[in-house]
């Protein structure tokens, strides 16, 4: 049985500083609707993308500035890709994959070394579900790539790029299933079974 906690619900009687929780009067409470795992940690079920350095994100060029590009990475604050950090030239609407270089104190993101992703399909899934799409050591992505035969780039921010060729419909179907059942245990086995049947 998975244990869902809602904002304000007691997580621990001791004060523990951890993500998605807060401490008040020596006790720890959940701040976000999340799953309480066996070790007492919180796995959020919903929420915006919280950028962190070295995250690999997928974004769409939304504007061209004099010194670089504005990139839509579906985070609450904007992302910027400097022309110095990339050899490629982009147009508005191009899809790029880039690592987060830095996040400043007001959470504005600077990307480093963007790479263009030509053609293909771009889909969006909730950012909190991305760890399940990636799987342990990329196991899930590798499995989908192998079954569908198309290149897949998963951004931590929730954008997923599916390359040209291969069975894109299948890949989308599998990702949809992952999102739907992300918090139900035994996901990898079920996806494995689903892909074997097909």
């Amino acid at each position: 049985m998975v244990n869902i906690v809602v904002p304000g619900e007691l997580v621990s009687e001791k004060p523990i500083q951890m993500p998605y929780a807060f401490v008040e009067n020596g006790k720890t409470y959940a701040a976000v609707i999340s799953l309480l795992d066996d070790r007492g940690g919180l796995i959020p079920l919903q929420g915006p993308y919280d950028p962190a350095p070295e995250d690999l994100v997928v974004g769409v060029i939304s504007d061209i500035k004099s010194s670089g590009y504005s990139v839509d990475i579906h985070s609450p604050t904007p992302a910027f890709l400097s022309s110095k950090d990339t050899r490629d030239r982009f147009n508005v609407g191009d899809t790029v994959m880039a690592p987060v270089k830095s996040v400043d104190e007001i959470k504005h993101v600077t990307l480093g070394g963007g790479r263009a992703l030509g053609g293909g399909h771009l889909i969006f899934v909730p950012a909190v579900k991305i760890p399940r799409v990636i799987g342990k050591k990329n196991s899930m992505v590798d499995m989908i790539e192998k079954a569908a035969g198309c290149k897949i780039c998963v951004g931590r921010n929730g954008y997923i790029w599916l390359g040209k060729g291969g069975n894109v419909t299948l890949a989308m179907k599998v990702i949809e299933k992952i999102i739907r059942e992300a918090h139900v245990p035994g996901l990898t086995d079920r996806i494995d079974k689903m892909l074997k049947v097909i």
Binding site: A31, P48, I106, I179
Partner: protein
Amino acid sequence: MEKPTLVVEGKRLDGRAFDQLRPIKMKAHVINAADGSAYVEWGDNKVLVGVYGPKECLPRHMANPYKAIVKCRYSMAPFSVLEERIRTGPSRRSTELSMVIRQVFEHTMFLEAYPETEIDIFIDILQAGGGTRCAGITAASIALADAGIPMRDLICAVSAGKIDGQIAVDLSKDEDNYGEADVPVAIAPRNKDILLFQMDGLLTRDEIEHMLDLAYSASSVINRMQVDALKEAYSGERTEAVLPL
């Protein structure tokens, strides 16, 4: 219109006891396009809430580099009341309610986590039957939790007041219109903080204390319903679509 008798043989107009709530139904995550949403039926009230954000703050000059700003819009549908149709758009009343509801949530959310952004709360009253601001706050709280915005507590609100000399909780439209006093209260159930307290009418200090007792016990019932609505929406499979762009 003449004032109706609000208390008959120790019971209220709709047969409730003085400490009894109207039937309440809550559902979280009802709008796919919104980041968070909720629908609440509370007696005759029907309230739909959508939450968007945190997102880029527009206009830019309103952005705060230290925290997110909250924008709240409470509005009643033209068809929401029995009397003359309400004109669409903001009114004096809805502007005030938008403000007090905004202030309730400004004190609840961890706004510092999202500098230079805005969080939009849209509260639409589809059908009104007394106590819409309380139903609105209760629904908005579920919607904010559904959006995954960090909060200190799930706020719930309930009205209390005085009808025909008796203190009662959760006033209906007639009790509100013809009663002696109406007091909407928003409560943080965990530490019993009061986040909204408005009073229309007159009450003595003792009456207020009695009324608050009733409101506190009602709030724990409402809070349990909010938690159940959220947990129900998140247990089992979700019908979230992968959005092609």
